[in-house]
């Protein structure tokens, strides 16, 4: 097993880092306060082909491998977790279509997703269905020449501006997934404001009322909506969130390195205080451990190994909890400054907490990971 990045991957990371330093990180605090990502930023992501970058070249994508994708996600998350959220949900939709779409669905949706011309959003969660995905109440009924969807989706990341929704619904008690275009009559979108973290992720509540979609909107088959379609999307999402969490933790470390060198108390820089060094040490080691878990998960995903599911979940579990610890310690190290908008660590803490909840909460993973582990020989 090689743990070194290739020259190409290092070059790609340098490119991502440079872009984020110039165009993302300096503005992330303002976007967080304004609770929106400006359109020109999304244009820049499009130009750089950072959206839908895993889509196969056969469908006009960059065909980025999972390691390069992870590096991109980490770097974006270092700058702004809300922009990282856009990559995550958009790529989850693209991944689900690439994995389970018909030829026609792939040809219709993957090229514009790869070009970022339409943004994808995952409409799974509902007011009464979060971790219990199978408990969704949205229904789809056979309407002859198509499907008729009724229900309410909540916490749909970038639902305010997405052009393509991957909607999960029950068909006579069996879960199914549908590709629903934003302009379909019967869809109404209500922006959600005042979110704790990833606040510029333009969350929405989406109501589907007698929303009629063509028969070919069904992604996969009825009965496989959660077990295969959502599972594929969420697995990709967990991978993205794992790397995003590493990005937050690394951003915390970077912020603390600068602050502890500059800030003086008791006549010496904070970095000279042993209790501060102890906090930094945990951060330094844990972020490396989390990145290694992500690299392993990415390597297994690239090779199509069945073990990738567990390794991805383990990476997300560890990295998201680390991000919260690192951000909590970063605020502690910054003291009162950490509680103000003058420094980014308060935002990192709010963003990190979200990572423990999305794409499978910490508790769901605590229930699930032992099942994975003990099923092996």
């Amino acid at each position: 097993m090689k743990l070194e990045l290739t020259a190409e991957q290092r070059a790609a990371r340098a490119e991502f880092r440079s872009f984020v330093a110039a165009e993302i990180a300096p503005h992330a605090g303002r976007w967080d306060r304004e609770e929106a990502i400006p359109p020109h930023v999304i244009d820049r992501l499009r130009e750089r082909r950072y959206l839908g970058s895993n889509v196969s070249p056969e469908f006009g994508g960059a065909g980025r491998d999972m390691i390069a994708y992870g590096l991109l996600t980490e770097e974006i998350a270092k700058g702004c977790s809300s922009v990282r959220s856009l990559l995550t949900v958009h790529d989850m939709v693209a991944h689900a279509i690439q994995r389970w779409g018909s030829r026609g669905q792939k040809e219709r949706y993957l090229p514009p997703l790869a070009r970022g011309e339409i943004l994808g959003a995952l409409a799974l969660s509902e007011p009464n269905a979060g971790s219990d995905a199978k408990g969704i109440e949205t229904t789809a009924v056979d309407g002859g020449d198509g499907w008729v969807l009724d229900g309410r989706k909540k916490w749909t990341t970038f639902g305010q501006i997405a052009g393509l929704l991957l909607v999960f619904a029950q068909v006579e008690g069996k879960a199914a997934a549908f590709l629903v275009e934003r302009e379909t009559p019967g869809i109404s979108v209500r922006p959600l404001k005042g979110i704790l973290g990833t606040r510029a992720s333009m969350l929405a509540e989406i109501e589907l009322r007698a929303c009629r979609v063509p028969r070919e909107s069904l992604l996969g088959r009825v009965g496989f909506g959660i077990s295969h379609i959502a599972a594929a999307a969420l697995e990709h999402g967990r991978y993205s969130v794992a790397w995003g969490s590493v990005g937050i933790a690394q951003a915390c470390l970077d912020a603390c390195r600068a602050y502890t060198a500059e800030r003086r108390q008791f006549g010496v820089p904070l970095a000279d205080h042993q209790l501060i060094r102890r906090l930094l040490t945990d951060m330094i080691v844990d972020v490396r451990a989390a990145r290694l878990l992500c690299l392993r998960a990415g390597s297994l995903r690239d090779s199509g190994d069945p073990g990738a599911f567990m390794e991805t979940m383990a990476a997300k579990y560890f990295a998201s909890r680390l991000a919260v610890r690192a951000a909590n310690d970063a605020v502690q190290i910054h003291g009162a400054n950490g509680c103000s908008d003058d420094y980014p660590v308060g935002r990192y803490l709010r963003d990190a907490k979200v990572m423990e909840i999305i794409e499978g909460s910490t508790q769901i993973q605590q229930i699930t990971l032992p099942l994975f582990e003990f099923q092996e020989f």
Binding site: W100, A231, D305, Q375
Partner: protein, 83 residues
């Protein structure tokens, strides 16, 4: 048991400990199949046998038993072979 069935049995045996799974036995009826196994099973057959499971293959009958999975592998392998 043919080599394909044998490999499938080895893989599934991880999930059906203390049970000698038979080729025609309904793994859903045994009650151990969950969404974790479902996706791992797809990944396993794709990697092990070099086939691509597509949307039209999403049918429980394709995954119901060792025999059924071997049948899916045989069909997909034949489809992928040059005419």
């Amino acid at each position: 048991m043919d080599p394909v069935q044998d490999k499938i049995k080895q893989f599934l045996s991880r999930y059906f400990k203390n049970h000698d799974l038979q080729p025609e036995e309904d793994i859903f009826a045994l009650g151990f199949v969950n969404s974790l196994l479902a996706m791992q099973l797809v990944a396993f057959v794709e990697k092990e046998f070099g086939i691509a499971v597509a949307d039209e293959d999403l049918d429980l009958d394709n995954f119901r038993s060792i025999q059924a999975i071997a049948g899916l592998v045989a069909r997909k392998t034949a489809e992928a072979a040059p005419a």
